[in-house]
Structure formats: C-alpha cells, structure tokens
Amino acid sequence: MRSEILYPGAFPMVRVELAAGEHIKAESGAMVASSPTIDIESKMEGGFLGALSRKLLTGEKFFFQTLRASRGPGEVLLAPTVPGEIVIMELDGVNEYMVQKDGFLAGADSVAIESKMQSLTRGLMGGEGFFLLKIGGKGTLILNSFGAIHKIELKPDQEYIVDNSHLVAWSATTSYNIEKAASGWVASFTSGEGFVCRFRGPGVVYIQSRNPGSFGAWVRQFIPVSE
C-alpha cells in the first residue's frame, strides 16, 4: 500500500493505493471515493465486545470500515470530518503511540488498535477522557487533527507543556503529568488554560493548532436559538 496526502492544508484528503488483496481499516465514514475494485466491509475491531467497549468508553466509532481491494488493485480517497491536517506515519513494530479518540483516520491492517484506560487524574483532568487508543504494530498509520498538526520532538528528560485539548498523539515512551497552568488555581482558570500536560521525553508529541472544544463554544454563539 502506498499513501499520499492530497491538498495539504486545511482540507486535505489521503489517496491510498492498494495492491490486489490488500486492505486497510479506516474510521467509519472516512471514505470519500474509491475504485470499483474496492469493497467496503464494516468490521468490529476486537470482536463485538471490543468494539462495544471502544464505542462506549472512548467514544470512538463502533465500527471501523475495512476497505479491501478484493477484485484487483485500486485506490481509495479518505477524508476526516473536521477541517485540519493529516499526517502519515510508518510504524516499525517497536514504536507505539497513544492517540486521543478523534485522531485516528486510517491504518494498515497490520496496525493494532486497543483501548487503553488511563489513570484517574489524567482521565479526569487530561481532557481526552479516561480512554485512549493505543496504536502499535507495523505499517502505515494515518492521523488527522483539527487545524494544523505540529510535531514536538523531545530528547530524553526534555520537558514540554501542552494545553490538554490540543493533544493528538504521543509516543508511548513519553509520560506526562497534569498540572495547573499557572501557580494559583484562580490564575489557572482565568488564564483560559485550566489544566496543562507536562510531557517528558524521549519521544514525539503531535499537537493540533486548534482546540475543538473552544471552537464548538465559539460556533454556538452564532446558532439561532429555536423553540
């Protein structure tokens, strides 16, 4: 499989070329167009209970869709729901990434996805909920963000502070602590940041340049209130 980002920027798409017999899994609803040789199957990753728990716990879609080049080679166009960048990563079997629930767009079939429960403090205050996707295995992984994706590279023991709602994905070799943004409680919230995550390297942290929650709040004020 070969993948390429079309129209990089705010409204990108991914073109994935599949050889005959190859297949990828994608977030359900991600397919925009495909060659006639591609079949779409919906598949519950991790069995019914796995899919159900992922749906209930992480809020991820219940089904992934599997796009299979069952009648010869072909291509698929995929796009995320929200405007924002797409990043293509090659997993090497050793690297693992924690991905917040909306960040997954598609992945090779050999990519393993599991829901991972995180600790109470991180879950309560981290802003990504109690469950994350832990994505490992080998092959192509395609993530999407709201806004542009920015990659932060951390050397061992290097620290960086990220507003929790801007997180997309981070290496499993990093760890983070939740902290107040400012030294005082009041200042933390009046600064508009609330809680932040202090990441500690080594590893890579992908962040998005826009905050979905704040954007939602901003849009809400323009929606006419109807009875």
């Binding site: 050793v94 600790s119 951390l154 499993a172 590893g203």
Partner: protein, 380 residues
C-alpha cells in the same frame, strides 16, 4: 545475515526523536545494541552492566529504561518486550539488582494503584446503582410520607373531575344507593381517616373500578352487572379503598416522576413538583399498581371487609370468577392481573381470621342488577 526484528527503541543525539528501532541482546558482560536501519544501519554498540543505570518509564510506567554514556554519547534505551526485560534481569550483576528491583516495584505499585483506584470507582458505582435499585422503594415511601394529604386530594380531585366530565354519571337510583351503603359500611370501619371518600357510579359496560389519590373512587356499572352479590362489589371497593389508604397512587406517581422529584420532596422543595404532578394527573387514570401494592390492597381490603362484617368470600369469589372469564372487556383484570395464587392467598388469610357473622346489606342485589339492565342474579 538473518532478518532481525527490532525489540527496543534507542534514543540519542543523532537519532530521530521518536527513537531508533534496534535489536537488544543481553550477554554475560552487558548488552549489545544493533541498529538495523536508518543512519546507523548495521552498526552495533555495546555497554557493560557496570556502565548502566536502570529505571521504570514510559507512558504506563511499564517499560524498562536503560541509560549509559558510550563512545557515541548519551544513550537511552526503552525496553518493552517482556522476554528482553526478563533476560536483562537474569543476567544483571548484583550492583544492578537493587535498582532493577526498585524499578519493578515501581511498576507494580503503579499498576496496583491504577487497579485499586478503578476498583474503588467501579465498586462505588455498583453500590450506588444497587442502592438505588433496592433502596428506591424506601426512598419513595419516605418521599410519599412528606406529601400533605391536601395535595393528594387536590391532585386526585382534578383528575377525578376531568374524568367524570367525559362520562355518563349515574346520579340516583337503587344502584347508587347500594354503592353508597357499601361505601358507608366500609368507611365507618376506617377511624381517623384523613380522606373523605367520594364514590361515583359511571354508566359503562366496562368491567372496572378504580381509585384516585385523595379518596376518589369510580365504579362502573359494568362491574356491578357482572357481580352476583353486593358482597362482591364490596370486595372490589374494599381493595380500591385500600389503594387510597396506603397512598399507592402517590407512590406510583413519585416513582414515575423519578429520583430527582423524590429527593426534592425529601429535602423539602415542594414548589416545582406541583406542576409536574398536575401534568401526570391524566396519567393517573391509567395508573397500574405494582404487584406488591396489589397484594397489600388485597390483604388490607380483606381485613376491612371483615371489620365491616361483610362476607369476604364474595371478594374471593368475584376474583376467581373474573379470572376464569377471559373476556377482552374485563378492564379490571388488565390492571389487576388475576392469578390462582392470589385467590389462594386470600383464602388462607381468611381461614386464619376469627369467625364473624356477616351482616347482610339492606338492598336487594337482584333489584339493583335489574335496574342496571343486567341479567338477574343466578341463584346459587
């Protein structure tokens, strides 16, 4: 050269920030790290155990972090594969044993804490859910106790008037006086009742009778036509009166209104609740009582009949008769599911009661039924 699968990530100045995949081999003297791709392809580095420091690390604190300063600079190795970690622990000399044990202890503690916190949360949620499930009846009773009788009467009255406005009410006649006599006989056996019972006879072929909160009772002529004696009607009315006395209607409403309403009553906020209850007023007419409430009304109804010296076997006979006839129009049955066990239970209860000599009613039931247009009572 055989194809190696990387089993660890190595971090260093010249490696990518996400780490360089590498193959770690544990040997007697230390470890050898082989790089399989990238800029450092086919290169290997070794470090002796004496140069290494170890700690637990990673997002879940489940990786073994090995650090050393080699010829190529600082190296940080993240080991995750359980086999490699096991091999490392087995081969490590004594001076690394203490830090390794500390790292392992750290991992265990983190896992333990994680598990503890989640089991406490899970347990609490379970207890709350179970508590609400089993304790809801208690809460409902507590809430109902705090609702004043005047409220109940207002509520029942508005539903009662709404209902009667659409019905053909029978104002006078032998049937009405018969029902009034039965009511009087029963009510005089309820001393200190906060309710003023009001009974109305409605012309309808529906075999039914119901009670609204506050003491408003409706008897349909269909039920009277079906009954073979005044005692049978008295049995049904005794049952319905007890729904009122035990405030069953209110209990059902409170249950339907939900826990928030229950809490607001218990905590003393009656204001907003009046509106909600009024809305439910119409639903009162279709109110079904729970099985426990039915049994309670059966038993207390039986006791009431006994005190009023009305033959309680009429009640049991009527119940049995209704359960035998499986007619679609027998409304009373749909809200009062009849079962053999229920009649049996009443019989057993009756047998345990002291004997009493029933005092007959002053009306002639045959005439009452005749006035209603029903077939004359079959002589037993």
């Amino acid at each position: 050269m055989t194809e190696f699968q990387p089993n660890a990530l190595c971090f260093g100045q010249e490696f990518p920030a996400s780490g360089e995949p590498c193959l770690v081999q544990v040997e007697d003297h230390g470890i050898t790290v082989m790089f399989l791709s990238g800029a450092a392809e086919d290169r290997s580095e070794s470090a002796s155990f004496s140069a290494l420091t170890v700690a637990a690390g990673g997002f879940d604190h489940d990786q073994l972090v090995v650090r050393w300063v080699g010829a190529a600079g600082e190296r940080t190795l993240y080991l995750k594969h359980p086999d490699v970690i096991r091999a490392f622990r087995q081969a490590a000399p004594d001076q690394l044993r203490a830090p390794l044990d500390r790292a392992a202890e750290h991992v265990r503690q983190a896992r333990h804490r994680h598990r503890m916190v989640w089991s406490v949360i899970g347990g609490t949620v379970l207890v709350v859910v179970l508590g609400l499930w089993f304790g809801s009846d208690l809460l409902v009773e507590m809430a109902v106790d705090r609702i004043p009788v005047e409220w109940e009467q207002k509520l029942g009255e508005s539903a009662y008037k709404d209902f009667l406005a659409q019905q053909d009410v029978m104002k006078e006649g032998v049937a009405v006086s018969a029902v009034e006599e039965i009511t009087h006989r029963l009510v005089e056996q309820i001393p200190n009742s906060p309710y003023k019972f009001e009974v109305t006879v409605v012309k309808s072929d529906v075999v039914n009778a119901f009670a609204l909160p506050g003491g408003y009772i409706v008897v349909f002529t269909g039920l009277m036509k079906k009954a073979d004696s005044g005692e049978e009607v008295a049995g049904v009315m005794g049952h319905e009166l007890n729904h009122v006395l035990q405030r069953h209607g209110l209990e059902r409403i409170v249950k339907q209104l939900g826990l928030v309403a229950v809490l607001s009553i218990v905590l003393g906020n009656h204001q907003g609740l009046a509106g909600m209850m009024k809305q439910l007023g119409v639903e009162l007419l279709t109110l079904k009582f729970g099985r426990e409430q039915e049994t309670e009304a059966d038993l207390t109804g039986l006791q009431l009949l006994h005190r009023a010296k009305i033959d309680p076997s009429g009640m049991i006979r009527f119940f049995e008769q209704l359960s035998e006839k499986d007619e679609g129009r027998t409304e009373w049955l749909s809200t009062h599911p009849m079962s053999g066990a229920r009649a049996e239970r009443l019989k057993a209860e009756l047998a345990a009661m002291p004997k009493m000599v029933p005092a007959p009613f002053s009306f002639d039931w045959t005439k009452v039924r005749g006035a209603l247009g029903g077939e004359p009572a079959a002589k037993p």
